[in-house]
């Protein structure tokens, strides 16, 4: 294996060599589109193919990105040499400035421009973001009876107060000292995770609660994957009953299209989905607290119907049912019964009886 520095410098050298020969220089970029991602049934997650495209300097549509790729590569190279780490937002600000000779065009207009370039480099050089000395923006927290060693510190995640332990962007270096839990419950919204913590759900059910706060960030996904693999705990996912919630589950289970190249490091193919489902509406009498699906929701459901990993009998029925009823159901709608309903009845009943959607 070549060192990351060498890979970055090689990228630069190749561009320079082409320039010296008077050729239009290009950088090979592995494609990250759906066309280069496939679902590996045996492995149970999304894998990246080997299609790549060439980013040419003289192609007007590529030139700006070409420049940005060089800027990010050169910056990461410096970070590694100086043994410093930067967040991806810091990288954005460090590199953002007005382009010489223009009035107000910047090297990067917003972070949505720099983030994909980082992903391009990770994938094309086959290195991890962490190896480029970059850390992702952090989000999500863990609560439950697990002792973690992070550098000098060692702590039990059930003794850190109601807020739990905030999961950092990079969890490669931490160690799991001791675990006293039966499963990991991944919860979409922080509000629901807070509810479960207040209801002592973790203690009563011997569960680790992970709040992912929307689409699970990398740190959280890597953490789930490591606990699952190293401590052999099953993963149960609890999201809103709508196409976005279901896609969060799908990401944890199979990986995302965007980060398909990291699937084997991030995804847990035998994750279980506990809810919310459209069936729950009838089962728990929640008809009065549903919300109407919007045009975009309907479109998203139709897309999901086509994903190979949703091509199971139960999921197809569930998605079609959502289309038919035209409604969605939020996790917090369960509060309609009572605040403790979700912790005392809904989750224990479904989890103990293994009423999962698969």
């Amino acid at each position: 294996m070549k060192k990351v520095e060498e890979k970055l410098e090689e990228l630069g050298r190749k561009v320079l060599e082409q320039l010296e020969k008077g050729r239009d220089p290009y950088i090979k970029i592995t494609q990250r589109s759906l066309g280069n991602v496939s679902y590996d049934k045996d492995k149970g997650f999304l894998v990246i193919g080997n299609k790549y495209s060439k980013r040419y300097y003289l192609n007007i549509a590529h030139t700006r990105k070409f420049m940005q790729t060089l800027l990010v590569a050169s910056y990461c190279n410096e970070l590694i040499k100086e043994n410093k780490h930067a967040g991806i937002r810091e990288l954005y600000y460090a590199l953002k400035h007005t382009i010489e000779g223009t009035k107000k065009e910047n090297t990067f207009e917003n972070q949505d421009e720099s983030n994909p370039i980082i992903e391009d480099l990770e994938l094309s050089l086959n290195v991890l973001r962490e190896e480029l000395n970059l850390t992702a923006d952090r989000r999500g927290y863990l609560y439950g009876d697990i002792v973690i060693k992070d550098g000098e510190d060692e702590f039990n995640c059930s003794k850190l107060g109601r807020g739990g332990w905030a999961v950092p962007g990079n969890v490669e270096e931490i160690e799991f000292k001791r675990v006293n839990a039966r499963y990991i419950l991944v919860v979409e919204t922080a509000a629901m995770a807070d509810r479960l913590i207040e209801e002592k759900f973790a203690q009563k059910n011997k569960a680790l609660i992970v709040a992912c706060q929307g689409q699970a960030p990398r740190g959280v996904r890597r953490l789930i994957k490591r606990i699952h693999k190293e401590k052999k705990l099953p993963v149960i996912v609890f999201t809103d009953g709508d196409p976005y919630g279901w896609y969060i589950y799908s990401t944890i289970k199979q990986g995302s299209i965007n980060l398909a190249y990291l699937s084997n490091r991030l995804s847990v193919p035998d994750s279980k989905f506990v809810g919310m489902t459209i069936d729950d509406i009838e089962t728990y009498g929640l008809e009065n607290v549903t919300e109407k699906l919007k045009e975009t929701d309907l479109k998203r459901i139709k897309e999901e119907l086509e994903y190979p990993w949703f091509k199971t009998k139960e999921w197809q029925r569930q998605l079609k049912l959502a289309l038919k009823k035209g409604v969605r159901i939020e996790q917090q709608a369960l509060a309609n019964k009572s605040l403790s309903f979700v912790a005392d009845k809904y989750l224990p009943e479904k989890i103990e009886n293994e009423i999962f959607l698969s």
Binding site: E9, P25, Y57, L58, A73, S74, T102
Partner: protein, 503 residues
Amino acid sequence: MKSADDLFKEFKILSVSEFFKKNADMLGYTGKIRSMTILIHEMVTNALDACEEAGILPEIRVEIDQKGESHYEISVEDNATGIPLKFIPDVFGRMLAGSKAHRNMQSRGQQGIGVSGAVMYSQVTTGQPATIISSTGDEVWKVRMNLDLQKNAGKIIEKTKIENDGWRGTKIIIEAKDVTYNRSRYSPYNYLRMSSIANPHARIEFIEPDGTKIIFPRSSKEVPKPPKIMKLHPKGMTTDDLLVMARNTKTRKLGSFLRTELSRISKKKLDEIERVSGVSMEMNTHRLTWKDAEKIIDAFKKIDFMAPSSEGLIPIGEENIMKGLSLVEPEFSIAVTRSPKTYRGGIPFIVEIGLAYGGKNEAGIDIIRYANRSPLVFDQGGCVINEAVKSIDWRRYGVNPDSTPLTLFVNIVSTHIPYTSAGKQAVAMEEEIYNEIRFGIMDACRGLKRFLSLKRRAYQKKQRKESLMKYAPESSKALSKLTGENPDKVKDLFIKLIEKRYA
């Protein structure tokens, strides 16, 4: 009770001049700015025609001076042959003085009321005589003259001989009230600008009331050929035309009158006319009745004649139109002179189109209309030119009628322009003319389209190069850091690469 004699004591036969005095609006004298521009039009037209008939490159000087509220003094000077003293009252004082109305010939003015109309307007609004200064090369005469409206004649009030220092030409000075000056589309300024475009052989100097001096330069040294008097074509005649001509002719027999005074009538055609009309060709021309004339005109309609000769039509020509349009300093110009056609079955005409893109043009299409080189400034709405322009699908030619900076020049050349009124500012809707204008515009637009797409491509190429150049310094700096190569050398490599691509 009054007797018939008493009543008829009051009755006077209105002279032509008096008739127009009462109907000045028929000549276009309505509204302050319009009246001003029409005065300039009549005086400048007279000056240009005088130069052209003598084959002289025109040097016209126009000056407008404000005397008071809505009160101005206007002078127009030319460098033509000058007018002998005894003809001055006729030229400037008698309506229908020239023989223009009775000649079948292409000319700027047609009814022969033009410049005398201006003198009349001046007299009616200010009561002041007009001043004419003219020299044929020897002495210079300064004449102050009035119009005797009842006699339809000019009357010299005062004449002075002035020392000459080699000047030749004519200058007319009039005063006018109920007029105003500005620089709008309908202003003398725009009128003179348009005149300059259609008369690239003329140099026009213009002094505005505030003293601003504007020169519309000469861009061609070619004096247009003077138009020829043409015989009328049978298809273009009316019963009245035929009667008037029959009365004035010296030819005795009807048959030989038709053969000598009309065009395209052969001996064989005479037999046909006789057969179809039933009117004897042997009859005395002076005895031709309205009824017989009508029969002959009807016969003309039924008989095929050779198309009229267009010899008498003198177009400006493509090259000179482009020279004229150079006034707007266009990026691109094109001109089309269509081949002669006829309307109403026998009146020959030629349509000329010019397009000038970019330069001093403002956004949108500026339509400039001409009839026999004379600018048509007013009544655009009712003009066949406007109708034809509206019918064009501009987008097909890459033109956005609201934003493309374009001058569209249209000149209709004919021995008889079918104006919608005596104001002579709009041409009537004649289908053949309408079609020719359309075809001409489409012809010219094809050329414009080629230019615009080349321009667009060149522009895109320039944009692309600029965009590549823009990212070169940043890319070079980053690459230099990444590889340790000298930053200036890396930048040179990028610039060389781009230059090579866009060489």
